[in-house]
Symmetry: C2
Subunit: 450 residues, 2 copies
């Protein structure tokens, strides 16, 4: 069960073995299909791109090597499945609303997990299960940017996951972005500080660590710098750790660093979707400090009917979804307990992703592609779930389209708010050893033709 | 499985049999407990009241007859449980994100269900599973009140469920209320129309049918009137039918009437929580018409990145929770299919509630209480999940507190935005035949002492 290769699943439920030589990807047919459906790829958002690729697979009877999806490629642990099935047979769990602040087992297991793997002290009452980290992000933004009337803007470290910025729009929260590509270290901290000072209205700084899509991690130095700014200006750091454990970095940059080690002003998001391959069941976690839970702000009162941060967070969950799915909370609790007890090796279970990333990068580089967001002198990018790449002389949209003709899919970095117009994000999860060979053939043919 | 009495569950998981004579409810101890915890009941919202009562049970070792909770009192059907357990054993379902617009089985079964039981024509693509009807309400409001820049206000038919109004506040949507207590029939329609005309900014009219907390239903005449106004002013009717099937009314007022029969301008909300006793797993449904799905509004673009109502609804679900829990969608689909096929008798499964409501009303009336929101000449209140009552000379807060001393709990109607300051809402779900006798004893003692 803990053998990564044995864990691999077929993500579409039916045998899915792209047959390299047998599949004809006909550019003309692809173009015609898109035209018929009225789809202009350059106008597509995330979901529309997924939809367009699904459509092509259906209409043309082909199977792309799908690096566009960011979905788990591993089977969930039997520990989680058994615990959820057991919870269902207890008629109280499926029939009764979950506690809006989560079941004690999950709060306790997550508290231990954070302590053990991220050196974060968040007691069980400071951990709130949500309907995926997606809901965690929404609630985090809603509360962080409402605390003070004049601090209702969010600074995003870009690139990042588009729905988070869509959430801010839905909440009427203004946002501003700063790209991680050309500013790191002291330069990044200086840039953040000057925006914070200039604006005076930044209520939260938000980023993902490891970063989706770049797979960079912030260094300890950077996290300390951000923490210092958050403390100085009473800003909340919203750190999305949905990809915790899903890659390897150099020891110095291991993502076991989090801003939560350096300030109480944090909302830390975890997710069962990626790390535990449990995306279907919609369980995420929002963790914060005891100090933050108890802090009171007048700005929260009109929206949440309470001044206290902790009460506002819980009420937001209650008002939005009346809690997170009940039986699935038991699944995640049981698996975290097993990980905490050393009975399930999380790192080993996820090793497939970094091994595969290394091999795919090799294929790309051998065929003239280059990697983005990985600096030569000091990479904080590591190997894992996502990789970013370009091809000389191609912009992202042309590369996306040309790769379609060779049966390979990925997403333009611009969709994530990146300043890089030349790159794509690929997810390694749906590539296994067998179709890695197919990928190599397709990429080699692409190179031969270009 | 379809015998209502056999279905009853113990909602707290442990034997819970309030022993009438053995339980001493000591007013002084209750007051001291609340004081020690710093709780002022008159300042409590929904959740705080539940929390306060939980606290008293824990601290004093007593068990109230809990009519304050609105939670299912029945076991979920084995059909649902089996389908969800089977979905879990298919590793693709728990590990992969649900389609943001829901699994086809659920969309199809819900479409049939709506057609069969509510005479509504909503094809499968117009039915979107949500994380409970709570999320459905949030998305409905977000889209309905964003369509046109100058129509961003919601008219609530009061009283109603407080979280819906909290959702509007979170979205920055203004709202206005009109009480159903003293205006019904033509008077109601005239009042709605005059507000709509006066304001010019109403983008949605929102109510629950059957109504929480009053257990009233709107008549066909009223629904037709609202539909006419919605068509005339391009307003969306948001009808929350979360309690569909959970009570009995006179034939003329059966809640098989819905505004969706009279206009395309509707978002109809259904829930698995109450009707299918599946509150734990967080599955609701938002249904709308094909016409509404395809309609386009400029106002949607800035927030949702699309002008189309259907696309905006789906994107809202994707951006807020990345879909509704995957395995639970199979549970609800299977049960709706069984209901559609006549293999599961929904009405019979829920008959307990109306039977119990009749008996509790009898106990109350026999002891000097009076019912609220039930007019003598023509009741549209019926018997079911909720009932509303008062006691001569008591305002709601005093009645709530005095009933606590006799071991009975309910919620003040004012929490729901009611204009009635004298009434409480009680939910019948946690009262069974055995503790109905205890209730009668406690209410009789209350009467004797007052």
């Amino acid at each position: 069960m803990n053998d990564p290769q044995a864990n691999r699943i077929d993500p579409v439920g039916a045998p899915r073995r792209a047959e390299g030589r047998d599949q004809i990807f006909n550019g003309r047919l692809i173009d015609e299909s898109l035209l018929r459906a009225g789809i202009d790829l350059s106008q597509c958002g995330l979901e529309e791109l997924w939809g367009a690729i699904n459509l092509l697979e259906r209409e043309l009877g082909v199977e792309f090597l799908r690096m566009d999806f960011g979905v788990p490629g591993l089977r969930p642990s039997i520990i989680a499945l058994t615990a959820q099935a057991a919870a269902l047979t207890n008629s109280v769990i499926p029939s009764q609303y979950p506690p809006p602040d989560g079941i004690p087992q999950l709060k306790g297991a997550a508290s231990q997990f954070l302590n053990k793997f991220l050196a974060v002290e968040a007691p069980p009452e400071c951990i709130l299960p949500t309907c995926g980290a997606t809901q965690g992000a929404f609630i985090a933004q809603a509360v962080a940017a409402t605390r003070r009337e004049n601090m209702n803007e969010i600074l995003f470290l870009e690139p990042g996951y588009p729905p988070m910025k869509a959430q801010a729009r839905l909440l009427g929260i203004k946002s501003i972005g700063i790209d991680l590509y050309d500013r790191r270290g002291d330069q990044l901290i200086d840039a953040i500080e000057s925006i914070v000072r200039e604006k005076g209205s930044i209520g939260a700084i938000s980023w993902s660590n490891p970063n989706n899509p770049t797979w960079n991690v912030l260094t300890e130095e950077e996290l300390r710098g951000i923490a210092r700014i958050c403390i100085g200006w009473d800003i909340v750091a919203i750190e999305d750790a949905a990809y915790f454990g899903m890659g390897t970095w150099t020891e110095a940059d291991r993502p076991s660093k989090t801003v939560a080690q350096f300030t109480d002003n944090y909302f830390l998001l975890l997710s069962a979707s990626k790390m535990l391959s449990y995306a279907g069941e919609r369980i995420g976690l929002l963790a914060t400090s005891q100090q933050m839970m108890r802090r009171r702000y007048d700005g929260l009162e009109p929206t949440f009917g309470t001044k206290e941060v902790g009460a506002a967070l819980k009420r937001a969950i209650f008002n939005l979804t009346a809690g997170a799915p009940h039986s699935a909370q038991y699944a995640v609790a049981a698996l975290l307990e097993a990980i905490n007890a050393g009975e399930y090796d999380l790192e080993r279970s996820l090793a497939t992703y970094s091994q595969m990333a290394k091999q795919i990068k090799r294929v790309l580089i051998d065929n003239g592609f280059y990697l983005i967001y990985e600096s030569a002198e000091r990479s904080t990018s590591g190997d894992g779930f996502y990789l970013t790449f370009g091809y000389p002389g191609f912009d992202a949209m042309r590369l996306l389209k040309e790769l379609l003709y060779y049966g390979v899919t990925a997403l333009p970095l611009q969709l994530f708010g990146s300043s890089r117009s030349d790159g794509l994000r690929g997810c390694v999860a749906l590539i296994d050893q067998q179709n890695l060979r197919v990928l190599a053939e397709r990429i080699t043919r692409f190179r031969r033709d270009h």
